[in-house]
Amino acid sequence: MWQEEVRGRAEPWKPVEIEAAKNLRLLMLDVVVARAEQLAALNTDLVRSNDELDAFAYVAGHDLKEPLRGIHKYAHFLLEETKAGRPLDAQGRERIDAMLRLTVRMDSLLDALLHFSRVGRLSLARQPIALGDVVAEATDMLGASLLGRDIDVQIPRPLPTISCDRIRVREVFANLISNAAKYNDKPQRHIEIGYLDPVDGADAVSTFYVRDNGIGIDTKHSERVFMMFKRLHTRDAYGGGSGAGLAIVKKLVEQHNGHSWFTSELGVGTTFYFTLIGAGMTQPGA
């Protein structure tokens, strides 16, 4: 820090000194303002994450209660029948079947919920990953559930190697490919996986996509599809599901500082995009 001591009367400040003092004042103001902005941003983040937690707890609560209501109801009926001394008939057996089905559903909702909350907490293990291998693994993982459907997966040009978390990016692809195959009513299901050319050099944003010729999504649902446990179709339509897949995709992509969205035409198909930021792309063979 600059310091000066004078006795008697000080020399008047030279213009250059006044200029320097003014600059110092401006610099200090900048620091104060920047700190205040950081603090405000942190507060906003905190409020948002509290709100998210709050909304999430309610969503989890009412979606988990749905199967529980069904189980309680069927057990109630069975008990009434037993009290009346009636033997178990076909309807009674159907009710037991329904209870078993609902406990399995509840189990899968709980698994999805635990997975979703874990995904938000773990830190990324970034390293250079050949995405072609990751997509091949994702397709293998889905193998069993995709079998018996006429699906062809096209990768028009080799995928690059980027810095990312292998397991998570594989999960993003697995979820998107699985959706592309499931929400599809065409006799021949086409899935295309690719990436857009980055706009500029090293810290370019890498944009990847998974395109299908499926049923399409009304764009009025553009935010809703990424919400936890949100399905656009009734419970068992299109092979059913918990409604967690895209919520997990969104979270995994956000962890890579990226974002996810889609473009779609009803009856024609959907393309899901996601970005992985700061991912330093290397072209294959380059």
């Binding site: 309610y58 009412h62 209660k65 749905e66 529980l68 209501r69 009734t234």
Partner: protein, 155 residues
């Protein structure tokens, strides 16, 4: 108990994606002894078809689940309140959500009553029976014909 559905009574629109819950609603209607037809819509689009594409049908009220696949019940309620022919339709919510924000948003959008679906089947059934009795026997519904008896034409 066998109950004849009477075509002279206004039907009730039940919007719920869960077949189990619709089944409970039907049982409660039978036990409450009401003869109104229950029209089941599985989601907001389905309900829209019933409400806006078939304008001739007058519903006694709409029993609405807020947590639907696709668009939620709140969006549907807002559309009903904007619609010239449907804006006075009583909308009664039956939802699993205990979130105060959902509740307040529902009332702010002009909903008539907010009920929470209970896990306890017996209590939930009793709750629904009282909803049917209250809205069909005690309430004078909009557009109800009260000319002869002074009472609405519902059982």
């Amino acid at each position: 108990m066998t109950l004849l559905v009477r075509s002279d009574l206004p039907p009730i629109l039940v919007v719920d994606d869960s077949d189990e819950d619709f089944d409970t609603v039907s049982l409660a209607a039978r036990r409450a002894g009401i003869g109104n037809l229950l029209v089941h819509a599985m989601d907001a689009d389905d309900a829209r078809r019933q409400l806006f594409a078939v304008p001739g049908v007058d519903y006694a009220f709409m029993l609405l689940d807020c947590n639907l696949p696709g668009e939620d019940g709140l969006t549907l309620l807002e559309e009903v309140r904007r619609h010239p022919q449907r804006r006075t339709l009583p909308v009664i919510v039956l939802t699993a959500s205990i979130n105060p924000r959902d509740r307040d948003a529902f009332y702010a959008a002009g909903g008539n009553a907010y009920h929470v679906k209970l896990v306890n089947f017996g209590e939930g059934l009793a709750n629904l029976e009282s909803i049917f009795r209250y809205w069909l026997t005690h309430v004078v519904l909009p557009g109800a014909d009260t000319s002869s008896t002074g009472k609405p034409l519902c059982p």
